[in-house]
């Protein structure tokens, strides 16, 4: 099955991207799920909801229909502050400091596992 939209002969393949919509949409929430005890919550997706309680209920229905989690967090997407690869100058500096990695130090075989 293909999901690229077939363009019929004689049809314009142009995509309309914007259109008038009604009410302001519900805010977006990011969903984090802890799959089982002992591991961290991991980002699993996002959804829209009017309030935290509904966001949690929707998260349960949308993301944990098959026991994928024992605990769920929802966080308003607009409250997430991010550092992006475009700001990568700091990564470059970090990459230059190879002496931070354990594997850069040679330990003779006779010493055994360290």
């Amino acid at each position: 099955m293909t999901y690229d939209v077939p363009v019929a002969p004689g049809e314009s393949g142009d995509l309309q991207e914007t259109i008038e919509t009604g009410a302001e949409p519900w805010p977006m929430w990011e969903v984090f799920v802890r799959a089982r005890r002992g591991i961290s919550h991991v980002h699993i997706g996002s959804l829209h909801a009017p309030d935290p309680e509904t966001a949690l209920q929707n998260a349960r229905d949308v993301y944990t229909r098959r026991g994928e989690g024992v605990s769920v967090w929802v966080i308003p997407s607009e409250d997430i502050h991010a550092f992006e690869p475009e700001d990568a100058i700091d990564y470059v500096e970090a990459n230059e400091k190879v002496y931070r990695h354990a594997t850069t130090y040679e330990i003779p075989d006779e010493v055994g596992h360290m």
């Binding site: 099955m1 999901y3 690229d4």
Partner: protein, 313 residues
């Protein structure tokens, strides 16, 4: 190594290295638009796809089959939501996608414009339609756009349930009374060709294929996926004791594949353009559900605002 490259070169280098493009990365405008078009169509297909099966929930032959069907339809809703989220990372609003669908500006897979006439259609849709969807979606788990590829991984896991429950229900039906087996054969006769149409036009008639391949949005061509699907499905039909309605279907030893007849492309384009048996009804139902749900969305918004004021006070 990406230093000194133009944004476009950097983008292509990431794609060529089999790395993923993420929402905040620079991307060509046409890449973004192609993905919005495709992910929205995919999301709409999941949502509209609830209707042909919803048609049989109240008439499932046993409680067990009814529970399975409800779980499957709920999954389709979930898949639509994962995909709308993925599309939103590209800058289109969810409500806009709804409105564009309701106004016929966005499309969904044509397969959902065929009616579900008998119970055997439920098993056949799981087997063929979800089988065709899996063939495509497994490819899409390797798509270059991260949010789409990740959504596909989740969806593929769940689609496996969809296909297997469908095939198992056909095993039951084909092992039943002659009338039941005839019902299964009739469903196969009706769904076979529309299922092959799901893979889209021939590569030579497909306007997006080349660019989508270079961007690794699409990894395998329409015709190759269709062949893969036929090769996989023929032995499954044999096991059921059902006959695929194609007189030209024959194993080709030289090619190592089945040869098969030509899809009726006039019918395909007719349905794509909006004149299939169910196009108008599907969109009208979708729009009605959206309009009739407006008061619920408004009430939830008002309730949230009231709770917010209370906790602030």
């Amino acid at each position: 190594m990406l230093d000194g490259m133009t944004p476009e070169e950097k983008f292509q280098a990431i794609v060529d290295a089999e790395d993923k493009i993420e929402p905040t990365d620079w991307m060509p405008e046409a890449y973004r638009k192609t993905l919005i078009r495709q992910i929205a169509q995919h999301a709409h297909s999941e949502i509209i796809g609830m209707q042909p099966e919803g048609n049989w929930i109240t008439r499932a032959p046993t409680l067990h089959r009814k529970a399975i069907l409800m779980a499957k339809v709920q999954d389709e809703a979930g898949h639509g939501l994962y995909l709308y989220s993925a599309a939103e990372t590209l800058g289109i609003k969810r409500d806009e996608m709804q409105e564009l669908l309701h106004h016929g500006k966005h499309k969904y897979s044509s397969i959902f414009n065929y009616p579900t006439l008998t119970w055997a259609d439920m098993g056949t849709i799981g087997w063929l339609v979800d089988g065709a969807a899996i063939t495509n979606q497994v490819m899409l788990t390797r798509c270059s756009y991260g949010p789409y590829a990740r959504g596909m991984v989740r969806i593929c896991k769940e689609e496996s349930f969809h296909q297997r429950q469908g095939y198992e229900s056909l095993i039951k039906l084909c092992g039943g009374a002659p009338e039941q087996k005839a019902m299964a054969q009739d469903a196969l006769n009706r769904w076979w060709w529309p299922s092959l149409m799901m893979f889209g036009p021939h590569d030579s008639d497909s306007s997006h294929t080349e660019q989508s391949m270079a961007w690794k949005i699409k990894r395998v061509s329409n015709d190759d996926l269709r062949q893969q699907f036929v090769d996989m499905t023929v032995p499954q039909a044999d096991f059921l004791g059902l006959r695929i309605p194609d007189p030209e279907l024959k194993w080709n030893d030289d090619r190592g594949h089945y040869d098969f007849g030509e899809v009726d492309w006039d019918e395909f384009w007719q349905v794509v353009k909006g004149d299939g048996p169910m196009n108008r009804e599907r969109v009208a139902n979708k729009k009605r559900a959206w309009d009739e749900g407006a008061w619920v969305r408004e009430a939830a918004t008002a309730y949230a605002a009231k709770q917010g004021k209370r906790s602030a006070a």
